[in-house]
Amino acid sequence: MELFWYIVLVTMLAVYVILDGYDFGAGIIHLFFAKTEKDKKAITSAIGPFWDANEVWLIAAGGVLFFAFPTLYASSFSGFYLPLIMILWLLIFRAIGLELRGQVHNALWELIWDRAFGVASLLLALFFGVALGNVVRGVNLGMVENGVSTQEAHYFFLPLWNPEFSPQAEHLGIIDWFTLFLGVVSVVALTIHGANWIIYKTNSSLNGKLKKVVFVLNFVLLALVVVSLLSWHIIEPNPFHNFFEHPMLWLFPIITFIGLFGMFKVRTFKKDGMGFLFSSLFLFGGLASTVASIFPKLLPSTNTVNPSLTLFNMAAHEYGLSVGMNWFFIALVLVIVYMVVQYRVFKGKMDDVGYGEH
């Protein structure tokens, strides 16, 4: 039962990363590459009718976390207090950047909200990568000082950074060189992903340039992935333990690399959606591999006093979890129906939807 909800939670988060990820990527492209009004319009039209529904996956995943693993929800949300609130603020800026831009026709007004949308998207991509880094690295559960817990065993609090800036320091921060590195990986991966979405959904004059951007960034991404695998060993001496135990799990890294290498062929794809498919595979595979590597841990402990938080010691009570399965399946079917309707109505190229001009 715990396992079922664990898979649901991870899948929902992966869907969130793939869907809202292309919105963040589109925002980054918008910030750095969109020069003309027409390009900007193409980008916002390509994500216009979708971003709001994409963001719901985060809220819904948060809800499932709250419901299925309430102790983990309580522990991690209070422990990662500051970055989470900042993510909220950034989500607000991303949303109003998109929504308010078209409301007043004034060059300065449009510039302000273009930048709000672009910068917020960039920082969100960075923050979500940093967040993944924190989950992989683990935290000082129970806030152990000199071998004694100063809080209940599953509570902690992290400042944004500590002067050591190291994932192995005694006093950890949200941002250290390892988590920041994963943040950069996330920015590069989502930029590629966003570019692929724009290529897929528009006939914009940017597309030719974006294919080159994807091609070049993909080399960067490959290098970053290799370095992150190496640095992983510093955090966790034996990161592939689970994979050797359960060889089936190698499927996830394989998917990741299919996605990664597939994208090198971006300039020769016959169909515009192929790049997006490969970057989605990369994101899904990468996330699943990471999660599989720390399984069954949800949040590792960096001290020896308190145990890591796992899906088994964090789950809600049996009855609630099983009754939840009933409504969850009904809801899931409905969500899939909505998505089919939504993507069918807004199928094909989106350049002319004219988002934000109501």
Binding site: D52, V56, Y73, W89, A95
Partner: protein
């Protein structure tokens, strides 16, 4: 520790108060937009379609504000109220997760279709997507009030040895006697807000002599929806909610009504007066004898317990705040019925659009449903104090143990600044949409 709890509470109160300014309009307004679109489908008169499209613009702006200020609400359960989430997540996590899965996906998917899909979908399917947005927003309200009702009147639970609340009866969450009266009361209050807003904008157009054809349609629709909802919000739904309070939270009821001492031979109803917590009495009181006993029990002499019968540590934490919230809500509710009644009479006599003073009153009444909704929620939430889960878990036991007061104050200040900006932008853009008005229809 005291500071920490204070800032946690302030942050939640501030962000939820600001947030609920938007859904209270969108829930009611979605109903009225569906009504306009339905009238269009039946009559084929372009003015109804244009009315629906105009209010959709206001709706979209409010909806966006509601979404961006709504996400912090879900997060705050974990960030600021971790202990509460840990202990009760197995129960309220159900309804909150259901809200995400059942209503947010529905709303967000079909809002996009509703806003951009009129040409792609055709009018009938466009109506259906509007209806689904309405359904999603009302489902969201339902699941939030189910969560709220469980905190007010916990049902279907067991408490484990480690203090955790565990669900043992799922359907009890939805047959909770607190739920249905509160839900209907709240939704009608939301319809009141949208009716008054629609009527006020209509009055603005008539008085301005601009878009006055639409002005008449908006005033008429606003007055009809407003009269019905103003009456139903007081009776039977408000009455049912109050009876739940008197039955299950008698100390809250005493504080709401400002009854410091149990009165023999029936309780008076207080119209005006200031709670004096030092001397435990109401200053400058104006009251009518025996009415409260009658309203509550249909018996002029029924006994209603005063605060003197309860342990002060179980008093609502802020008795004067609770008392004022309740009285402001009830006072405004009474004014709403009166104004809408007069407006409806003039409408029936076909004189409404020329009765200037009623049009001016409708225009100036615009902020007051927001105040009534907010104070209504304050009545409910301050009334639940000092508990998070009534009689079972105190507010002092629910905050996050590791988040310091300084960090919460930092984020509270950030929210205040950010929401001030949002509020200004909202007013500016809403003003722009209203000033521009609906498209003029060519004959």
């Amino acid at each position: 520790m005291e500071d920490m709890l204070f800032y946690d509470r302030m942050q939640f109160a501030f962000t939820i108060t600001f947030h609920y300014l938007f859904p209270q309009l969108t829930m009611g307004l979605s109903l009225m937009i569906v009504y306009f679109k339905w009238k269009f489908l039946r009559s084929k008169l372009e003015k109804y379609n244009e009315a629906a499209k105009f209010w959709m613009k206001i709706f979209a702006l409010n909806f966006a504000m509601g979404v961006v200020t709504g996400i912090p609400m879900e997060f705050q359960f974990g960030t600021n109220w971790a202990k509460f989430s840990e202990l009760t997540g197995g129960i309220i996590g159900q309804t909150l997760a259901m809200e995400g899965m059942f209503s947010f996906f529905l709303e967000s998917s079909f809002l996009g279709l509703f806003l951009f899909g009129e040409k792609l979908l055709g009018h009938k399917l466009h109506f259906v997507s509007g209806f689904l947005v309405f359904l999603g927003s009302w489902a969201s309200g339902f699941l939030i009030i189910a969560t709220h009702s469980w905190m007010q009147f916990p049902v279907g639970y067991e408490i484990m040895e480690n203090g955790k609340f565990v669900l043992n009866n799922f359907s009890a969450l939805f047959s909770n006697p607190w739920l249905w009266p509160s839900y209907l009361h709240n939704q009608l209050a939301s319809v009141i807000t949208s009716s008054f807003v629609v009527a006020a904008i209509g009055a603005f157009y008539i008085l301005n002599n601009k878009h006055s054809e639409f002005g008449k349609l908006f005033v008429k629709t606003g007055v009809i929806f407003g009269l019905v909802s103003s009456i139903l919000v007081a009776f039977p739904t408000g009455d049912m909610v109050a009876k739940n309070v008197v039955k299950h939270q008698p100390v809250t009821f005493a504080a709401m009504e400002g009854i410091f001492e149990t009165a023999e031979g029936g309780s008076e109803i207080v119209l005006i007066g200031q709670p004096n917590m030092l001397e435990k009495k109401l200053d400058n009181k104006i009251a009518v004898p025996n009415i409260l006993s009658f309203l509550t029990y249909q018996d002029w002499e029924a006994e209603i317990k005063g605060l003197n019968e309860f342990d002060p540590k179980d008093y609502p934490t802020n008795v004067p705040g609770l008392y004022y919230s309740y009285h402001i809500m009830v006072g405004l509710g009474t004014i709403f019925i009166g104004l809408m009644f007069l407006a409806a009479i003039q409408l029936y006599r076909k004189k409404l659009y020329k009765t200037k003073w009623i049009l001016w009153s409708l225009l100036f009444m615009l902020p007051f449903p927001y105040i009534a909704n907010t104070t209504g929620w304050y009545t409910s939430e301050l009334g639940r104090q000092p508990w998070l889960v009534y009689n079972l878990l105190r507010t002092t036991e629910g905050a996050s143990p590791t988040v310091s007061a300084g960090n919460t104050l930092f984020t509270l200040l950030g929210f205040i600044g950010l929401y001030l900006l949002l509020g200004l932008l909202f007013l500016m853009l809403a003003g722009k949409i209203i000033n521009k008005g609906p498209h003029i229809i060519k004959q």
